[in-house]
Amino acid sequence: MRIETAKKIYIFSPGLRIWHWVNFLTIITLFATGLYIGRAFFLGPTGVEATYAYGEGLTMGLIRKVHFIAGYVLLASFIFRLLIALFSKRDRLVLPTLWRRDYWVGLKEITLKYILLMRDDEGHEYIRNACARTVYPLVYLAILFMIITGFGMYGMSNPSGFWASLFGWIVWFLGGEFSTHMWHHWVAWLIIIFAVLHVYFVVREEAIKKNGELSSMFNGYKFFKGKPVDLEDIE
């Protein structure tokens, strides 16, 4: 049996890991409650006067309240994510390095690997592969879009209030409140599709390379055979 030497590299800061799992919990909560708000597939307590329904079971009012609280948490964690990127180099891996040759080489290699024309142990090693560098900014944009449309609609119950003046414009930009509801709904599904693919590619990476991809979001470390091409991005 050949023993391979592996280099242990510290990639994910504690702040980023906490943010990732907070984000996971809020997005799951927001999606589940949001689905009910968009399509109320079960009725609340029906045997009582509406006034007393709160104590009797799951109501639309409670589900919306959970949705709004999770929305506030999502916003706070998003701001936190931007702040840690200001202070730490390894938290700034999200933008595609379009101006660098290694990005394009990496994009070609990862595409060939994903369409199975290239083995995963061939080619260069990356701290953050080009596909992730391309897709993550879009996910951040999608989350930002959900925050703006969400708080826009939330705030319009008081059109002169803080949230309406901050994000109310999006409602008219998207052509009215009804369209804003629909956009909010569609992009929610896009984020869930991303989540499915995200989990799949992480499991795939772990299963094929056994490089600690799966545990890296808990302990921060990943294993590399050689020196990753974009090591300078975090050190």
Binding site: G44, T51, L58, G61, L116, G176, E177, W189
Partner: protein, 353 residues
Amino acid sequence: METFWEAFKRHGVSRRDFIKFATTITGMMGLAPSMVPTVVRAMETKPRVPVIWIHGLECTCCSESFIRSATPLASDVVLSMISLEYDDTLSAAAGEPLEEHRKKIMKEYWGNYILAVEGNPPLGEDGMYCIVAGKPFLEHLKESAEGAKAIIAWGSCASWGCVQAAKPNPTTAVPVDKVITNKPIIKVPGCPPIAEVMTGVVMYMVLFDRIPPLDSQGRPKMFYGNRIHDTCYRRAFFNAGQFVERFDDDAARKGWCLYKMGCRGPTTYNQCGSIRWYNGLSYPIQAGHGCIGCAEKDFWDNGPFYERLTNIPVPKQEADADRVGAVAVATAVGGAIVHGVASKLRNSGKKEG
């Protein structure tokens, strides 16, 4: 022109009734009770304002609504508060003498009259889809707007385009603010707008000699600040999760929330929930039918009216966002499994070379 107070005296209205009237309309305009003296003062001093009311591509439902205003009575507004000089639907005169009168009034009160526009101009075929007084309405509108102090865009037609501008908009009908860009325009959307909202806007403009505070969409804030959902008397049923699921079910008889029947109350800004219709008698939701969102832009294109989520055009399927989303996620999961197995096979064994 005589003032309102003079016009009231001429009609034999007592001072007491006059003050009562001033107090009522202060409330109707959404102003604080402390504004009553200001309103009284304005009614004693401000002359009546000449109004030219023109009709384009429309159904006249705005006029129908307006003449049913109860507080104040539309007749009071038309006969005592404003000086309605031209309205080709309401006036007894017709034809050339009426058109001559419009031109005379425009010249006489140049820069001081209010132009009320009901309906909108179609731009297609040089505006030939709507002819008023032998000319395209487009020209009629531009000519009348020239000397106006401000323009009131009555209804969803003049404000957003409404049904004639719904896809595919065969006549290229456009809202008034696409054609007239150099005048202040007050949008009073609704199909039709609530009568008291219409008279409220007119009164505000003539009494204070300025346009009411508008939101970013050009609608008077005091009438279009709230969603119907946020003022709806059935809101408690929404919060409790008590929904009507069919128009003939028990919940419908109990008067529960119409959210699942496609009610557009949550996305529509209007006063139906508070001022209501026919002197506060009722409004669509109170009558048991969901709101169709008639005061909102492009409400005809956001169908179907009885569905909460709009359809996504999928060939040969009726599909809303949730169905398309679920299929897409299932496809992603299935694809991931297949791809995963293939990846594992591709990467099995030793590295070649």
